[in-house]
Subunit: 342 residues, 2 copies
């Protein structure tokens, strides 16, 4: 079925658009009262693992905010979970993996056989969401990037600096590359299954790659992002979002990805200069600016689009929307993009 509003896919393919597409990272959840109602009734993994709930949550921002794309409601930690690690989610405190990876034996114990089957609930949620979307807008699938998943597998919880994970990568490069390759294989299978179920494009979140120096990024993060982009790009457009790794824009632009997400720590003009003109950029509104009055948000969105240009660009935030953003402000952001005129 042809997608009615295919601005996102056009922008990723480098085709001419009348205005940039817009969606918001973490658009499904957190700040939406309709989501909070569901959250009050069901536990975190219940929401993630019940296709009907994940579908309902995924559709909310399409209906309420009017974004140009849906992104399947899930979590990057479903991968370590499917590989056999226990993952607990304390919604006040963040994730906890009680049994972290300590040595080669732990890596060998990770099960990557039939990963897509163990994550079939995601495929089912995608299938159901595609049906309910009824071709209104494209559906984005996603996964965490191997380095970011390793961070949680080694550290066992969130961290400002992920020192233990970095120490592991630096002092045990043999084990790190074994683990990263294993995660990469599982992630590719998982993303392929998402596309098979109906995802129109996929985004890979390397949320912690910005903790790495340019040199370390090129050995610990980039090769695996590249491998995923190569494996998925024949099937659908791929967006890579290595948060904080602005320094790698030239290398990222040389992968098979169609788009690169950027945070707000780089000026649009500089990002474009570093990435070149053959790739779509996505971002980079500071979520804190969504706390400004709607009129001010609209003004800043216009400035952002003017700075990036309307072509090969996807309007978005530079990181996930925060829970304290009023719904009308999120809507103002989306409306401002829709109102954009040269």
């Amino acid at each position: 079925m042809t997608i009615k509003n295919d601005l996102l896919l056009k922008a990723l393919r480098g085709e001419q658009v009348s205005r940039p597409p817009v969606w918001l990272m973490r658009q499904a959840g957190r700040y939406l009262p309709q989501y909070l109602e569901i959250k009050a009734k069901y536990g975190f993994f219940e929401r993630v693992q019940t296709p009907e709930l994940a579908c309902e949550i995924t559709l909310q921002p399409v209906d309420i905010i009017g974004v140009d794309a849906a992104i399947i409601f899930s979590d990057i930690l479903v991968i370590p979970q499917a590989m056999g690690m226990e993952v607990l989610m304390d919604e006040g405190k963040g994730p906890l993996l009680p049994n972290v990876i300590k040595d080669e034996k732990d890596i060998d114990a990770l099960n990557i056989q039939d990963i897509a089957q163990r994550l079939e609930y995601v495929s089912q949620a995608i299938w159901l969401t595609k049906k309910e979307l009824n071709a209104r807008v494209p559906l984005i699938g996603f996964a965490g990037a191997p380095f970011t998943i390793l961070c949680y597998m080694i550290e066992g919880k969130g961290s400002k600096t992920f020192d233990k994970a970095k120490e592991f990568c630096l002092t045990r490069p043999d084990l790190a590359s074994k683990l990263l390759s294993k995660i990469t294989g599982a992630t590719i299978d998982y993303l392929k299954a998402q596309v098979a179920a109906g995802a129109d494009c996929v985004q890979v979140f390397d949320s912690w790659s910005g903790l790495l120096s340019p040199a370390d990024f090129s050995t610990i993060a980039l090769p695996y992002l590249k491998e995923i982009a190569e494996a998925l790009s024949p099937l659908c457009p791929v967006i890579l979002f290595p948060k904080g790794s602005w320094y790698a824009l030239p290398e990222l632009a040389a992968t098979k990805a169609s788009g690169i997400g950027i945070d707000w720590n780089i000026a649009p003009q500089m990002a474009r200069q570093m990435a070149g003109t053959n790739i779509t950029l996505q971002g980079n509104f500071d979520p804190t600016h969504l706390l400004l009055p709607p009129a001010q948000i609209k003004k800043e969105v216009q400035q952002m689009i003017s700075a990036f240009g309307a072509q090969r660009y996807i309007a978005n935030l530079g990181h996930g929307i925060t829970p304290n953003v009023p719904v009308e402000n999120a809507r103002a952001f989306v409306e401002a993009v829709k109102e954009w005129k040269t």
Copy 2:
């Protein structure tokens, strides 16, 4: 008295040096067994406020590690404390300011009269340390930058994102600039007193400025860094270290500062290109790399110096040394710089 080893001051003045000077951020404390002995006996503010203890701690890395500069043992939060805010330090968890700034009345209540007098214990520690140093190496004074101090005053504790502080700056720009100006005035008085007591140069730590977009940095952080550099530069060389704000290198290089600190998220060549050749760069070794074997550390330090060049450069970390670094590794870092040859 002429300082015997004045490599640091020469590098900051842009004079020719035989090799780059070297010191380590957070060199006094944390990883040193001799510091941990003192820590076991005295509370945090007792160590900071007792000149004899602060002096002893400051001298340790000069004697044990052989760095080319001492930096006075203190804390950036002595400024909010001296302005009248309660500051608690739970050494496991970080700082806590129970009564945060909420409105204009709270800002008006901050006392900036005679700030240097209320911080006389720092001046005394500097005076004592200068005496004990006996002109072996220069002594660095320091303070937190106004934006970073505001972060703690508004948020009341550490944070990954300092959302509340950013929200305050964005939505109450009038109050934010009033508060930032007040902190700036106090900081200038405080740094001048440090120089009067004997500090040979000063460093300003903007530990959280990297949370700001380039546009926000230029309104919320830069003007106050500039003001401090203007006020202090007639007295001694000034190093600005706005962590994560690589994007502002050209603007920072245009201030009256003599040096700019950079973290490991930017390649040396790019930092030099953005900053130009008229300012000294300081950094940018990833502290996690100090967990590698000493031989590997030495190799990487050589590469770092080759990339920066030996002139207008100060070898240092890109952030504070972490508690888990073996002393011999810190020493290997310093030795590698001393062994450097073109």
